[in-house]
């Protein structure tokens, strides 16, 4: 792995400040500065798949737009594959693929195949590569039946699959996905995830995806970045997120009969009692085994299960703390 590969995407103290003009009275305008991205730094090695999450207006899309060269950063340094995106936008464009979940790049009134033909000529993809890539996308994304269908007749899920294929025909080294599963049904989501996993594993494509669906992250990304108010609040593995968020796992125990709340178990506290069933919360970082044996030793245990913390709760908690 070369130095270029270790820091394929380099973001150093990047800022984006928008000046918003607001009408205040008939002629007078108020100017206000909005810091959409407020000093973000991170590095992504080549071939990694990173989830980028945060609430609406956190600065996710703005970051992606700076990484693709659409927006010029107000400050900081930004490099993708050693290229400054804003200065060398078209050069970088050939090496990246972008899917905006809410905007299709396909041609509404023409068969899907025609959109791909345009991509081939725009990106000047050699014929043999194009054939191989199209075949692979068609197979994995299940597009064979759709190639001759005008895009306007496709369902949302079909169109999204079509869009993802269009972004990958030129073998991009990096793929940005902005809400790739938004509005899709369960089956389409699964298909898209499966495909992304495959592309990442086989082609070594670096993938950066923003999403509101945390299942996307759980199933695809080993690394997740949480962003809020234009800053990185967390950057690391999904498991680590639990530790940082001080989230708790829950041990659900079924006892033989109704008993007063369980006490005297170190590291756990009873949070709920409902007949013979009781809920014990303990830190997500701790092991459940000593807890189970401690409960079994002191109480008539019939059955038990462990509930993992809901990542959504963890993140909601992080936002709340930040705001508070």
């Amino acid at each position: 792995m070369t130095a270029d590969d270790a820091a394929f995407i380099e973001v150093d103290g990047v800022e984006k400040v928008f000046t918003v003009r607001r009408r205040a009275g008939w002629v007078r305008r108020e100017r206000r500065e909005v810091r959409a991205v407020d000093g973000i730094s991170f590095r992504v090695p080549r071939g990694e798949m990173v989830g980028y999450i945060g609430p609406n207006g956190a600065g996710k899309s703005t970051t992606i737009k700076m990484l693709t060269g659409i927006l010029v950063p107000s400050g900081g340094r930004l490099r993708v594959a050693g290229i400054d995106p804003a200065a060398d936008r078209t050069r970088l464009a050939r090496r990246m693929g972008v899917v905006f979940g809410q905007r299709t790049t396909l041609w509404w009134d023409l068969p899907l195949r025609d959109s791909y033909a345009l991509v081939r000529r725009m990106y000047r993809i050699p014929d043999d590569r194009f054939r191989v890539n199209l075949e692979r996308c068609v197979e994995l994304l299940d597009l064979a039946e759709l190639l001759e269908v005008p895009v306007r007749q496709l369902s949302l899920g079909q169109r999204m699959r079509g869009d993802i294929a269009a972004a990958l025909l030129h073998d991009p080294e990096v793929l940005y996905l902005d809400e790739p599963t938004i509005g899709l049904d369960v089956i389409s989501k699964a298909k898209v995830r499966e495909f992304l996993r495959e592309v990442n594993a086989e082609q070594g494509t670096t993938v950066l995806l923003t999403t509101h669906d945390l299942t996307d992250i759980e199933q695809l990304c080993r690394r997740v970045m949480v962003i809020d108010h234009g800053r990185v609040m967390y950057d690391g593995g999904l498991e680590g997120l639990h530790a940082v968020g001080e989230s708790e796992r829950t041990l659900v125990v079924d006892l033989e009969r109704e008993l007063p709340p369980i006490t005297g178990i170190p590291g756990a506290r009873t949070v709920r009692v409902e007949g013979p069933r009781q809920w014990l919360a303990f830190p997500a970082t701790a092991s459940a085994a000593p807890l189970v044996s401690a409960v079994a030793a002191a109480y008539p245990l019939v059955d038990l299960s462990v509930r993992e913390p809901d990542i959504e709760d963890v993140i909601a908690k992080m936002y709340a703390e930040r705001a508070g």
Binding site: F18, G47, G57, S61, T62, K65, T68, G69, I70, L71, V72, D88, R89, T90, R91, A93, R94, R95, M96, V98, F100, Q102, R103, T105, W107, W108, D109, L110, D114, L118, R121, M122, Y123, R124, P126, D127, D128, R129, V132, P150, D171, E173, E202, Q203, G204, T205
Partner: protein, 320 residues
């Protein structure tokens, strides 16, 4: 496949025949070195790069135009009706002037053939630009709804994409009208066709189209800041062509000064046409001023290009 062939010429090293998809990481790197016109012109200086980029722009323009024409043909009846409607509207436009001449013999000292000559040249020059660049005025919509983003992530010049966006073949109507009227006027004009006048006619049409194009592009650039300014742009482009259809003698000196020195619309047809028609130049301009049209056109295009770049850099996209 002529285009595919042309691509091969500009590639520095055509990619090796890879028999089967070898590990993509390696091939991606190979291709990166072989593909781009940036790489293809590496070491050949900025002129080679700009030349190839311009070539790419034109090529992509026609690719997108082709897509739009095919899209239009998905609604063939609608296209036919729109085209006919367009022809009728442009025809009626001239009917106003024809009607005027049924009551008077001269307008501002110009006879029917001469006014038709002005109308024809203005309409032809504008028609060419409207067909090729008219879509740029729609850019405000793309700026507002954020679909501009999808154009910016492609490895081809944005201006070419914007100009070709929603290409409307029905705009041919105005060119047809302009050329017909120009032809009629040439048949009825009493002009001493010296070589400089013969030369000036095509030069005037091309320069005029270029001046209008620079207005379209500058107006489009302005919409990066004010995305609802399409109307302002139309007042210069569509408004400009209407102005130029009448003889300069019917306007005040303030208007004339403005269209010579501020927004040089007068160079589209007035000043060159006055030389062809052997009439004195307005507001004390020298007789050769009409020959300045190509220079003015080049200057306008350069300024419009700068404005376009500045606009693109100021693009703010939308929230999502």
């Amino acid at each position: 496949m002529a285009e595919a062939r042309a691509d091969d010429d500009v590639r520095a090293h055509p990619p090796e025949q890879t028999p089967e998809p070898t590990p993509a990481r390696a091939t991606a790197r190979e291709r990166r070195e072989a593909w781009g016109y940036e790489e293809a012109t590496a070491g050949r200086g900025p002129r080679a790069y700009r030349g190839l980029r311009a070539y790419q722009g034109v090529r992509v323009y026609f690719l997108i135009v082709g897509m739009w024409v095919r899209s239009t043909m998905a609604y063939r009846t609608s296209f036919v009706i729109m085209t006919l409607g367009n022809l009728v509207v442009t025809a009626l436009d001239f009917a106003v002037i024809a009607l005027m001449f049924s009551h008077v013999d001269v307008l501002g000292g110009f006879g029917l053939a001469e006014v038709t000559f002005l109308y024809g040249t203005s309409s032809t020059a504008f028609g060419i630009t409207d067909l090729l660049f008219g879509s740029t005025e729609r850019i405000g919509r793309r700026v507002r709804d954020g679909t501009m983003d999808t154009l910016l992530v492609r490895p081809v010049p944005v201006l070419a994409q914007v100009a070709a966006d929603r290409f409307a073949l029905r705009r041919m109507g105005r060119i047809v009208q302009g050329v017909v009227l120009l032809g009629w006027s040439l048949a009825h004009l009493d002009v001493d066709w010296t070589w400089d006048r013969v030369l000036l006619l095509p030069v005037m049409l091309v320069s005029g189209a270029a001046i209008f194009a620079s207005l379209f592009v500058a107006g489009a650039a302005f919409q990066f800041w004010a995305s609802d300014a399409a109307e302002v742009q139309s007042s210069f482009t569509y408004g400009g062509t209407t102005l130029l259809q009448y003889p300069p003698t019917v306007f005040t000196t303030e208007v004339l000064r403005a269209v010579v020195f501020v927004i040089p619309l007068a160079f589209v047809n007035w000043l060159p046409a006055l030389h062809i028609l052997d009439r004195p130049q307005p507001i004390g301009l020298p007789g050769w001023v009409g020959f300045g049209a190509p220079l003015v056109a080049v200057a306008c295009c350069a300024l419009a290009g700068l404005a376009w770049r500045a606009g693109l850099r100021a693009y703010r996209s939308t929230g999502s």
